[in-house]
């Protein structure tokens, strides 16, 4: 034990030194200082286990000496040395922080050493207690929730800083408050009014662990709080610690969630592994017509359509394995016995044994789909019926044209034949006039024959199957011009023919298009000294089609009548001007239309006409000079 003796009186110091000689060797190592300043230096350097301090020193007098020493070294235990009859002063020193006092001249060696040991021990215990206290108060201070201590009447005894924050109180104010003023203790107000002890209320809460109630701040504003109370063991009179948590944030999140849960048009639920619903939002009631209680009372499978149960069971099984589920559809029964189609998305929580599910009512969609399917089916049936009718009509038309072709032509042939025979038989016997009559009869019958032929060809055009293949228009144009040789051999015609593309089409019918258009150009330029017929490609074509044209400087036509141009038996010229049956352009239009193209014309009376038509070009890979000339489709004839 290192003992520092602070004593300015050498005689006193010597007495103590002599006294300690009786101590066992090495038990006490004595240092002596005769002034306070020297003592403080000594403590700083040598850290004694105990200091024995005389309070009357040359540089410090009285209690101030102890106070200065304690302030400098609170970690060191001090024992005050006093004179005789000075015990009151000694108590004062102990109250001021000294561990003990020794009356000079009254102590023997053992007493002195014992006093020193007790002082050291007492000092250490106090230090430890103080440290433990400060740790505990640090915990209380750092906690975010309010912690209060109250007595049996609910009076606040202590509050941590968080409590001040939570309730908006100062440390001075809060200790005057009662717990019932800070939180709405159930029944506390009534008891307080009757001046009754609120301990039973507190005890009731204590047994319920945590309760939710309203907290009240200094300004009267309330907030949701959670409260737990426990009795402090051994406290007499009884005291309680109260833990109070401001749960405003949590409540807000909950209420937001609840609002969504309530608002949702979709059906939201939590179901448990036992096959029952656990929680349902109001959309279930709205959609199915059952109350939530009715739905909670039975296994959810009871509400599933019997036909959908096996699939639903399978899905529930896979959910139980922790698999997520999307886009599952089944039918749920409504209170009125009808069923609604629901589209489910589920997330399982296998740990909790819960399913979180949301369902969308798709009954309308399903009904619409069914309706559309039904419509499609009936449409298909109708198309079939119409197709049948059309086939029948086509067949009738065919037999009609067959009999037209047979039965109408025969009498015409007879008229013509007999007129001719009559002409031959009366050779040289008839005057000019009757001979002219006979000729008119013959011409008329022939003309009607042509009309019938053209009409039949035209009607056949709508029924014949088109064989679309790549066709070189250059070749077809040349062929057509050659076939018109009879009509053009005595004419002066400038042919201006541009290179033409290969197109997709039926060669036999396209040949008729060109024969009609080029034939018309030749015919309607007959009165021109010099005819100019131009055949070319106009760009740009529409919709990726090639636009082609045949232009002439012939009689032309008035654009007023352009709509009549392509009608059957529509003619814009009298037959004594230009011959024709009025069926050629109608045939052209029908053929081009059946190829998916269109035909139009521009013209000016007395100036000329241009006929445009569009055809699908050959896709670039299939185009080639070799493929541009398809085989002739017509049947060989004798």
């Amino acid at each position: 034990m290192k003992l520092l003796l602070v004593e300015d009186n050498p005689a006193e110091a010597r007495i103590i030194r002599e006294l300690l000689k009786e101590a066992p060797p090495g038990a006490v190592e004595l240092h002596v200082a005769n002034r306070l300043s020297a003592a403080l230096d000594e403590i700083r350097q040598d850290r004694p286990d105990i200091v024995m301090l005389d309070l009357g020193l040359p540089d410090s007098q009285g209690l101030a000496t102890l106070q200065r020493a304690l302030a400098a070294f609170p970690m060191v235990p001090f024992v005050v040395l006093t004179g005789l009859n000075d015990e009151n002063f000694a108590f004062e020193a102990v109250r001021a922080g000294a561990q003990d006092y020794l009356v000079k001249g009254r102590s023997d060696c053992d007493g002195l050493i014992r006093t020193a040991h007790y002082a050291i021990e007492r000092h250490r215990n106090r230090r430890e207690l103080e440290e433990s206290d400060s740790r505990k108060s640090a915990i209380l201070e750092s906690v975010l929730d309010a912690i209060l201590v109250c007595d049996g009447q609910g009076r606040i005894i202590e509050a941590n800083p968080a409590a001040l924050r939570v309730f908006g109180q100062t440390a001075e104010n809060i200790v005057e408050k009662k717990l019932a003023e800070l939180v709405d203790l159930p029944g506390a107000t009534e008891r307080a009014a009757k001046a009754q002890d609120i301990a039973p209320v507190i005890e009731a809460i204590e047994s319920r662990q945590r309760v939710e109630l309203a907290g009240r701040r200094y300004d009267g504003r309330e907030f949701p709080a959670e409260l737990a109370i426990s009795r402090i063991a051994k406290a007499v009179p009884p005291a309680f610690t109260c833990w109070i948590c401001d749960i405003t944030g949590r409540k807000q999140a909950e209420s937001e969630r609840d609002r969504f849960f309530t608002l949702s048009l979709d059906l939201l639920c939590i179901a448990s592994a036992d096959g029952y619903f656990h929680r349902l939002n109001p959309a279930f009631e709205r959609t199915l017509g059952f109350t939530v209680d009715e739905l909670l009372a039975r296994p959810f499978m009871d509400f599933v359509h019997p036909d959908d149960r096996p699939a639903t069971l399978a899905v529930v099984a896979s959910l139980a394995k922790g698999e997520k589920l999307v886009n599952f559809e089944n039918r749920y029964r409504c209170k009125d016995g009808s069923y609604r189609w629901l589209l489910w998305t589920c997330v399982p929580d296998p740990r909790e044994g819960l399913l979180y599910a949301s369902a969308h009512d798709i009954t309308e969609r399903r009904n619409n789909e069914a309706e559309i399917r039904e419509l499609n089916a009936s449409l298909e049936r109708r198309v079939e019926e119409r197709t049948e009718q059309l086939a029948l009509a086509n067949k009738e038309l065919e037999s009609f044209s067959y009999s037209v072709s047979h039965d109408l032509r025969a009498p015409l042939r007879h008229i013509h034949g007999y007129v001719e025979m009559l002409t031959t038989a009366t050779e040289g016997q008839l005057a000019d006039k009757p001979r002219r009559y006979l000729k008119i009869i013959a011409d008329a019958s022939q003309e009607m024959g042509r009309l019938i032929d053209d009409l039949l060809a035209f009607s056949r055009m709508s029924r014949v199957d088109l064989q679309e293949k790549p066709c070189g228009l250059d070749g077809l144009v040349q062929e057509t011009i050659r076939s018109l040789e009879m009509a053009t051999k005595d004419r002066k015609i400038d042919w201006k023919i541009a290179p033409l593309p290969a197109v997709l089409g039926d060669a036999a019918t396209l040949r008729q298009v060109l024969a009609n258009l080029i034939g018309n150009a030749v015919k309607y330029t007959a009165k021109r000294e010099r005819a100019v017929i131009e055949i070319g490609r106009a760009d740009p074509g529409d919709n990726g089609c090639a636009t082609l044209f045949v232009r002439d400087n012939g009689a032309g036509f008035d654009m007023k009548y352009v709509k009549k141009l392509f009608g059957v038996f529509q003619r814009l010229h009298r037959s004594d001007e230009f011959e024709g049956t009025g069926i050629g352009l109608a045939t052209v239009q029908r053929i081009i239309a059946r190829h998916g193209g269109r035909v139009w014309a521009e013209g000016e009376a007395g100036v000329g006409a241009t006929f445009y038509f569009t055809l699908k070009p050959v896709p670039s890979t299939a185009a080639g000079p070799a493929s541009a000339r398809p085989a002739d489709q017509s049947t060989a004839r004798p």
């Binding site: 067959y402 072709s405 047979h406 039965d407 032509r409 025969a410 015409l412 042939r413 007879h414 013509h416 034949g417 007999y418 007129v419 001719e420 025979m421 013959a442 019958s445 022939q446 009607m448 024959g449 049947t635 004839r637 004798p638």
Partner: protein, 153 residues
């Protein structure tokens, strides 16, 4: 020998028949011309039946056959003649008002020798009759067959 062989005209229209006769007469053929009014008569003639049971022997040089006729139509006559191993040697020229694709195709399938659409124009009609009549009645040399060799049907 063929100069004396008969030409058969089978047509239900007396006018067409008359016109055909007129046309043939202008060619001054010496062949005898037999006019029959429908397919049934034509078959009776060929097979020596009914009113033709005692007709003179010999196969016709050519049959000018209309298609659309009452009772038995031209295509049926054609079918029977061309499926008969002996009779199929007789040249048959279908002469019809229509040039319906189906008739044309069917006639060639059945083995017709020529198919002529009767033109409305009489001069062309005369030309056509003269051409086929002359070709089959005068210029064509048929195989030597006697119809007596056929067992009666």
């Amino acid at each position: 020998m063929s100069s004396l062989r008969r030409i058969l005209i089978v047509d239900d229209s007396p006018r067409d028949t008359e016109m055909a006769l007129e046309a043939l007469s202008s060619y001054k053929l010496v062949n005898e011309i037999v006019c029959l009014r429908d397919g049934a008569e034509a078959l009776d003639y060929i097979y020596h039946r009914e009113q033709f049971a005692s007709r003179p022997e010999g196969l016709p040089a050519v049959i000018l056959l209309d298609l659309k006729m009452p009772r038995v139509d031209g295509l049926e006559v054609l079918r029977q003649i061309k499926s008969d191993p002996v009779m199929k040697a007789i040249p048959v020229v279908v002469m019809t008002s229509s040039r319906e694709e189906q008739d044309l195709v069917r006639s060639y399938e059945l083995g017709v020798n020529s198919y002529v659409v009767k033109p409305v124009n009489f001069k062309e009609f005369v030309e056509a009759i003269k051409l086929v009549g002359a070709f089959w009645a005068v210029l064509n040399e048929p195989p030597l067959i006697k119809d007596e060799a056929i067992p009666p049907v």
